[in-house]
C-alpha cells in the first residue's frame, strides 16, 4: 500500500467524519466524529511525510485529541445533567 493510498484513505475518512459531524443531531456522535476527524488528519500527517518531525507532530496531536475528548465529555455530562437530553435540537435555552 503506497503512501498515496493511505493519504486517500485519510482524506476519505476526514470527509466522512466532517459530513457526519455536520448532519447528525446527537452530541455524543458529534464528539466521536470530531475525534475521527483528528485521527484522519493524523493518518494524513504520517502518510504524506516520512520525516520524523511529522511523526512527532502526530504524537502531539494524540495528546490534543485526548485533551479535547476530556473537555468535550465533561461538557456533555454537565449538559445532560442540565437538559436531560443530548440531542442538539432540544437544547435551546439561548436564542438562535
Amino acid at each position: 500500500m503506497s503512501a498515496y493510498n493511505l493519504a486517500s484513505l485519510a482524506f476519505l475518512l476526514f470527509a466522512l467524519a466532517a459530513a457526519g459531524f455536520l448532519t447528525c443531531g446527537s452530541l455524543v456522535r458529534m464528539l466521536m466524529f470530531l475525534e475521527l476527524m483528528l485521527n484522519a488528519a493524523n493518518i494524513a500527517l504520517v502518510a504524506l511525510n516520512p520525516l520524523p518531525a511529522s511523526q512527532a507532530y502526530a504524537v502531539m496531536i494524540f495528546a490534543i485529541a485526548a485533551a479535547e475528548a476530556g473537555v468535550g465529555l465533561a461538557i456533555l455530562i454537565t449538559l445532560s445533567a442540565n437538559f436531560k437530553t443530548l440531542q442538539a435540537g432540544n437544547i435551546k435555552e439561548l436564542k438562535g
Binding site: A74, L76, T78
Partner: protein, 472 residues
C-alpha cells in the same frame, strides 16, 4: 550596557512559565492550605502584575528560540504586554463579581492562566504547528471557562463553542497535514520563501484559514459567537472578545502575509466583505446587550481584516486596533456585569433611565458605544481610520467603501443603546442596582478614560504599535 540575549530570553520566557506556575498554584495551594481558600483571585491578580514586570524591556532585534518555534521581538513584547493587560482586567472583573461557583475558584483561575499561556506562545510562535498547539492551549480552557457555572445558559454556550471550535481545530490539523507534505518546513519564514505550490497547497491553506477564522469569528465561521457570548459568564465573554479574538487575528495575519496576491487574498477579500456586511445587519435586530456586543465583535473582526490589506501600515493599524477595541469591549462588558441580574445579561431596553440613576456609568457606556462605532475624538475612530487608510493606500478602495458603509450602519445600533440610556423613560422606574462592586466600576472608568485618552492622544500608543509592527 550591552544587550545579553540569554539573560533577556531567561527573563522573557520566565513570563509564560510563571503563568503556568501561578495556574497550578491557584489550583493546588488552596487544597493544602485552608487559609488560602477563596483568595485565588488575589493570588492570580498578584501573579499577573508580577509577570508584567518581565516585559519592561523589548529586545532590540528578533531572537529565535527552540529552533525557530518561538520568536521574541518587540512585536511579541507588545502583544504579550497587551495579553497580560487583558488578563489583569479580566481578573479584576472576576474578583468584583465571582463568576465561579463556591469551591471552583481554583479551576477558574487555573483555566484562565493556561489560556493566557497559550495566547502568549501563539503570539510569539514561529511556525504553524507551534501556533496550532498554542491555539489549542488557548481554546480548550476557554471552552471550560464558558461553562464554569454548570448552569443551563453557561453550559449551552460551552457546548456550542466547543463543538464548532473543535471542528475548526480538526480542519486546521488536516490543513497542516497537507502543508507538511508539500513544504520542507512549517516555519512561517520558510513557507513564505517556498515556491507557490498548486491546488493541493491551496486546499491546505484554506483548511488552516477556516480553522483560524473560527477563532477570530469571521462570517461564515461565526455561528457560535452570539450564543457563546450570551451564555458565558460576562467576564469570560469579555475575555473571549478581547484576548481570544486578538490571538485569532494574529494567526490569520501570519497566514495572510504569506501571500502577496492570488486566490488566498481574494478569499480573504470575500471573508472580510461578508463579515462586515452580515455582522452589522444581524446586530441591528438584537435586543440583548450581550448578543449585540457579540455581533459587534464579529463586525470588528471584519474591520481588522480590512487592515490586513494595507501591508506595513495595515499591521501598524491592527496593533493599534487591538488594544483600542479591547478597552471598549472590556468596558462595555463591565457595564453589563454591573447591571446584569441573570446570566443572560440585560436587554438593551433595561438600560432605560440609566442616565438618571447612574449618570457616570451611562456616560462611560456611551463612550464605549461611540468608540466602537468610530466617532471622533474617541480611540475607535482613529483605529478604524488607520485600518481603512492602509487598505486604501494598498489599492483596495472598494473593500474600504463597503466597510465604511457598514460602519455607518453600525452607528444605528450603537446609538440605539445611548438613546435608550438618555432618552427613554423606564417602564419600571429604572431599578438599576445602585450598589456595584467598586472594582468593576474602577475597571469601567479606567477603560472609559482609556478610549478617550487613546483617542485624544493617539501618538504614544501609535508609536508603540509602529515600532512593534516593524518586527513582523
Amino acid at each position: 550596557m550591552t544587550f545579553d540575549p540569554v539573560a533577556y530570553a531567561a527573563s522573557a520566557l520566565a513570563g509564560p512559565l510563571l503563568l503556568v506556575l501561578a495556574a497550578f498554584g491557584c489550583l493546588l495551594l488552596p487544597l493544602f492550605f485552608k487559609a488560602l481558600r477563596g483568595t485565588q483571585g488575589m493570588i492570580a491578580l498578584g501573579a499577573v502584575l508580577v509577570v508584567l514586570i518581565f516585559f519592561r524591556q523589548a529586545p532590540p532585534a528578533q531572537l529565535s528560540f527552540f529552533s525557530g518555534a518561538l520568536n521574541l521581538s518587540p512585536l511579541s513584547s507588545y502583544l504579550w504586554a497587551f495579553a497580560m493587560g487583558v488578563l489583569a482586567l479580566f481578573f479584576a472583573l472576576s474578583l468584583a463579581k465571582p463568576p465561579a461557583p463556591e469551591g471552583s475558584e481554583g479551576e477558574y483561575y487555573f483555566l484562565a492562566f493556561m489560556a493566557t499561556t497559550g495566547l502568549l506562545v501563539m503570539m510569539a510562535a514561529g511556525d504553524l504547528f507551534t501556533a496550532f498547539i498554542a491555539l489549542e492551549l488557548l481554546s480548550l480552557p476557554v471552552y471550560a471557562l464558558a461553562g464554569i457555572r454548570r448552569s443551563k445558559p453557561g453550559i449551552e454556550a460551552a457546548y456550542k463553542y466547543f463543538m464548532l471550535g473543535a471542528f475548526g481545530s480538526g480542519m486546521t490539523v488536516m490543513g497542516i497535514a497537507v502543508l507538511n507534505a508539500l513544504y520542507p518546513s512549517l516555519d512561517f519564514v520558510a513557507l513564505k520563501a517556498a515556491a507557490p505550490a498548486g491546488q493541493l497547497a491551496l486546499a491546505g491553506f484554506l483548511l488552516v484559514i477556516s480553522g483560524f477564522a473560527f477563532k477570530t469569528a469571521l462570517v461564515p465561521f461565526h455561528m457560535w459567537v452570539p450564543d457563546a457570548y450570551e451564555g458565558a459568564p460576562t467576564q469570560v465573554s469579555a475575555f473571549m472578545g478581547a484576548a481570544v479574538k486578538a490571538g485569532g487575528v494574529v494567526l490569520l495575519w501570519r497566514v495572510f502575509s504569506l501571500f502577496d496576491g492570488g486566490p488566498i487574498r481574494e478569499i480573504f477579500w470575500w471573508l472580510t466583505v461578508i463579515t462586515a456586511v452580515f455582522a452589522n445587519l444581524a446586530a441591528l435586530a438584537q435586543n440583548g446587550l450581550k448578543r449585540l456586543l457579540a455581533y459587534s465583535s464579529i463586525a470588528h473582526a471584519g474591520y481588522i481584516a480590512v487592515a490586513f490589506f494595507g501591508g506595513q501600515r495595515g499591521w501598524e493599524a491592527v496593533l493599534y486596533y487591538l488594544p483600542v477595541y479591547a478597552m471598549a469591549t472590556i468596558g462595555a462588558f463591565g457595564v453589563v456585569l454591573i447591571l446584569e441580574k441573570d446570566e443572560k445579561g440585560p436587554k438593551i431596553d433595561d438600560l432605560a433611565g440609566l442616565a438618571k440613576t447612574r449618570p457616570w456609568l451611562a456616560a462611560a457606556m456611551a463612550a464605549f458605544m461611540f468608540s466602537l462605532a468610530g466617532v471622533p475624538p474617541l480611540a475607535g475612530f482613529f483605529a478604524k481610520f488607520y485600518a481603512f487608510a492602509g487598505a486604501v493606500a494598498g489599492g483596495y478602495t472598494s473593500l474600504v467603501v463597503i466597510a465604511v458603509i457598514m460602519s455607518a450602519v453600525s452607528i444605528y445600533y450603537y446609538l440605539r443603546v445611548t438613546v435608550v440610556m438618555y432618552m427613554k423613560v423606564p417602564a419600571n422606574g429604572g431599578d438599576h442596582p445602585v450598589e456595584a462592586p467598586g472594582l468593576a466600576e474602577a475597571v469601567v472608568f479606567l477603560m472609559a478614560a482609556g478610549v478617550l485618552l487613546a483617542g485624544l492622544f493617539s501618538r504614544p500608543l501609535l508609536a508603540l504599535a509602529a515600532e512593534a509592527s516593524r518586527w513582523f
